[in-house]
């Protein structure tokens, strides 16, 4: 497995290089002048001389490939450049925001898995009962509601009505609760539906009927076989959700003042902060690929019949 992982990581290099070129080109082609944006952020008038000076300082007057290779060589040495907006190094900002995002993504995934899988299994076993129907209503609703609405409803309920949490949360464990819940609700719905469908499908398989006929205990069938065989698709959907969460929880982060990478990416795009956008996209792309790799490897762990090759 180590050999497989090493091979995949080596294959990552050209992919990442292609991503750097793509991101850099897209940023290069995007209309707008970061130097002008920086100088006019207070709304004043800019002279051509001032603009030329700022562009030279930001390195924007250099040819495309000079700028690109300088950026790539910098990354290789661990230097992602400095932010155009505040001139601070990009990497520490990125890592700090990424830490917060990962914390939120992992917490919400954990919470979702812990709640959704038992519910999914139970609803499969109690198919078409009142409990199943109630869960169905909740999961459909949870799936259909946009994240920002869930976030605002939670804030209204917990902060304004119950007053259990402050609206102005900090990046602490308590401050993490509501954003985690906001991200978890749709995930719980998806995971529960997926688990239910998989378990139901497995329960209809011939091997389950055979095991029943041989008098194997229900819980043994359920946990050692049915659930185990359903794990593949559950892992797929969980990894997919983590990937979405890492880059896509912008709204939730903004509403709850969570200093994650999503809100940082959005503000850097609107501020034409190219080094920060490029660095963020590169880091996110790398993470996506690594999660893919881990997902593939986990398939092998749960089912040895799957060949890593």
């Amino acid at each position: 497995m180590l050999k497989y992982a090493s091979k995949r990581i080596i294959k990552l290099i050209p992919v990442l290089l292609a991503i750097t070129l793509l991101v850099f080109t897209l940023m290069y082609l995007t209309p707008g002048d970061p130097a002008l944006k920086k100088l006019t952020s207070g709304g004043g008038v800019v002279t051509d001389e001032l603009l030329a000076l700022e562009r030279a300082e930001m390195g924007l007057d250099r040819p495309f490939f000079v700028r690109y290779f300088s950026w790539v060589f910098g990354i290789v040495q661990g230097d992602f450049g400095n932010s155009y907006v505040d001139s601070m190094p990009v990497l520490p900002k990125l890592l700090k925001a990424l830490g917060y995002t990962l914390m939120l993504a992992l917490a919400s995934t954990f919470l979702s898995v812990v709640i959704a899988i038992p519910i999914g299994v139970y609803t499969a076993l109690k198919k078409d009962t009142i409990f199943d129907n109630i869960v169905r209503i909740f999961t459909f609703t949870g799936n259909a509601m946009p994240n920002f609405l869930i976030a605002l409803l939670l804030m209204f309920l917990f902060c304004i009505q119950i007053k259990a949490f402050p609206v102005i949360a900090t990046a602490s464990l308590k401050g993490m609760f509501l954003p985690t819940l906001a991200l978890s609700i749709p995930m719980i719905s998806r995971f529960a539906r997926q688990t239910r469908a998989d378990v139901l499908s497995q329960l209809g398989e011939e091997y389950v009927i055979g095991m029943h006929a041989r008098g194997v205990k229900e819980r043994t069938i359920l946990f050692k076989n049915v659930l185990h065989n359903s794990l593949g698709s559950i892992i797929t959907i969980v990894s997919l959700q983590i990937r979405i969460l890492i880059g896509g929880s912008v709204v939730t982060e903004t509403i709850f003042r969570w200093p994650g990478i999503g809100s940082m990416l959005m503000s850097s795009i609107t501020g034409r902060d190219y080094p920060l956008v490029q660095g963020t996209v590169l880091i996110l792309a790398t993470l996506q690929i690594l999660i893919n790799l881990l997902t593939d490897m986990s398939y092998f762990v749960i089912d040895k019949r799957i060949s890593l090759e």
Binding site: S41, G42, G44, D48, I168, S263
Partner: protein, 535 residues
């Protein structure tokens, strides 16, 4: 087994919930005691003057900022706009609510030709008690010149300290607007000898000093006990970083914050339903939305008619209190803002079109020589309500008989504002037109030939000559006269239409006052007279 599993999962979930609910959070501050009396729900009115002599000292003020910056160093970029709003820094001069330049840290500035003598007020000191000296002013100005490109011109100045409180500034050429320049928030003072960490804790002259600062996060300031201009009422002020408008609304309703500015039209409506708890203030800022008309693509009659068709009042009413109609680049109550553009007059617009040989056809579109006016492109971008303003103007022009369509661009500075080959009919832009109480920066940057915003090609020798005259004229009355003359000609060319000012809308809990709620400049905020919310 299944029951055990479910029980275990439930216990785990409950434990997690309990754990998160028990952890502390320093930002929590539900203050249900806040509420009550006196309502001043009167947009446009100024708060009552509160002096330390009549008001008990103490209390805290909590507010939010959409953007918090990684540093408090006022020489960087536009950070001084924020440090001044926080009550941390103060400039040498300041702009009053009526856009007049008055001394702040400075006592006065005498300008004689290219030499200016700056005198400092007695008793001004930093939060550590050290007095502000002319030498420290000089060093701060040199530091600004070194670190902020917008102030590189200071490198050409000769600064001579003649005594503790006097600085003589010799300029390469006369600069009649030096007093206005010194009202820029960047001309604030830091104790450079004792500030060991300017990014996070600069020692300044303002009524508050830094207690805690999280870069790009929250900022808490406490009273400057050595404040030079009297007692500071508040014990502390906290600025929370928060960009989501809904969250700000809920934090305000929950009593977690006491005041904030730039509230949305929807929120104005919500707050106005509870005048017992909230005071609303609205003041038109100097940031304006305006449009340029391309004389190469629109003939004079159409351009003139357009200026007469646009109904700014209706647009402002539709936008729900976030915009104020404006008919010039400068406020009409300033001496240099007396030249204004005409108000909506559909009859006059029709007459202009008819005089230009246009007639209205059966499709309600003006035509000339049997040819209908081609659809005019309104080039705009989706920021600061500019796209919405463009849509409303499209509606008004189309109803009049001038067909239009919206042409949305992502960034005006990458397209029509900078690319000479970019063909536009009408384009929109937004800028602070009067940044320091003087018309020169706008005229120099928009009207002068070859300037950044002379995108209509209006610039001409006659206007440039007047601009040169303005540049060296010291007498304010004469300056105003020249500026009005320049602007009159500019408006008459019908290439520029001033549309709407952005409002600085502020909501404050009952009891809060002196939050610079009547000042049109967004870089003023907390002062030593700011009072806390009523408990």
């Amino acid at each position: 087994m299944l029951k055990k599993l479910i029980a275990t999962v439930l216990i785990l979930t409950m434990a997690l919930t309990a754990l998160t609910a028990c952890s502390g959070t320093p930002a929590q501050s539900n203050d249900p005691g806040k509420s009550d009396p006196v309502v001043s729900n009167d947009p446009g009115s100024s708060a009552p003057e509160v002096t330390a002599g009549t008001t008990a000292l103490g209390g805290t003020l909590k507010t939010v900022e959409t953007f918090m910056y990684p540093s408090l160093d006022p020489v960087k970029d536009y950070y001084s706009w924020h440090s001044q709003k926080y009550g941390l820094t103060e400039s040498l001069f300041r702009l009053t609510d009526d856009i007049e330049v008055v001394p702040w840290l400075a006592e006065g500035l005498d300008i004689a030709d290219n030499v200016a003598t700056l005198t400092l007020k007695d008793g001004v000191c930093f939060s550590n008690g050290n007095p502000l000296t002319a030498d420290m002013v000089k060093r701060n100005m040199l530091r600004l010149a070194e670190n902020n490109k917008r102030f590189y011109y200071l490198n050409d100045f000769q600064l001579d300290v003649t005594d503790e409180k006097t600085l003589v500034i010799t300029m390469p050429t006369a600069l009649p607007t030096l007093r206005n320049e010194l009202a820029n928030p960047e001309f604030c003072m830091i104790d450079l000898d004792n500030s060991t960490d300017i990014d996070n804790n600069p020692i300044c002259t303002g009524p508050f000093k830094v207690e805690t600062f999280v870069p790009e996060g929250d900022l808490t300031l406490v009273r400057n006990e050595n404040y030079w201009d009297g007692d500071v009422i508040l014990d502390s002020v906290t600025f929370y970083a928060m960009s989501d408008e809904q969250s700000k609304l809920m934090a305000m309703q929950n009593g977690e914050i006491d005041a904030y500015d730039n509230i949305t039209a929807t929120d104005i409506e919500i707050y106005s339903t509870d005048p017992a708890a909230y005071q609303l203030f609205s003041v038109a800022m100097q940031a304006r939305c305006y449009m340029f008309m391309n004389p190469d693509r629109l003939d004079a009659s159409i351009r003139e008619a357009i200026t007469l068709v646009i109904d700014r009042e209706t647009i402002a009413a539709f936008m729900g209190g976030v915009l104020t109609p404006t008919y010039g680049a400068f406020n009409d109550d300033t001496a240099y803002g007396k030249s204004q553009q005409p108000q909506m007059n559909l009859e006059a617009a029709k007459a202009v079109m008819e005089a230009g040989g246009y007639t209205l056809n059966a499709s309600n579109v003006y035509e000339k020589d049997g040819k209908a006016i081609p659809t005019i492109g309104l080039y705009c971008y989706a920021a600061r309500n500019i796209d919405k303003i463009a849509v409303l103007i499209l509606e008004q022009l189309s109803n009049f008989g001038i067909p239009c369509e919206i042409k949305l661009v992502e960034d005006p500075d990458g397209t029509y504002m900078t690319d000479p080959s970019y063909e536009f009919d009408i384009c929109f832009y937004r800028m602070t037109t009067d940044k320091t109480g003087d018309p020169m920066p706008f005229i120099e940057g928009v009207v002068m030939s070859g300037s950044y915003q002379d995108i209509t090609g209006y610039g001409n020798a006659e206007a440039d000559a007047k601009i040169e005259e303005l540049r060296f004229t010291v007498d304010p009355a004469k300056r105003a006269e020249i500026a009005n003359d320049i602007m009159k000609d500019y408006y008459a060319a019908n290439v520029f239409v001033s549309l709407l000012c952005y409002n600085r809308n502020i909501v404050m809990a009952t009891g809060v006052s002196n939050f610079s709620e009547a000042n049109p400049y967004e870089y003023y905020g907390v002062t030593h007279k700011t009072t806390p919310a009523t408990k």
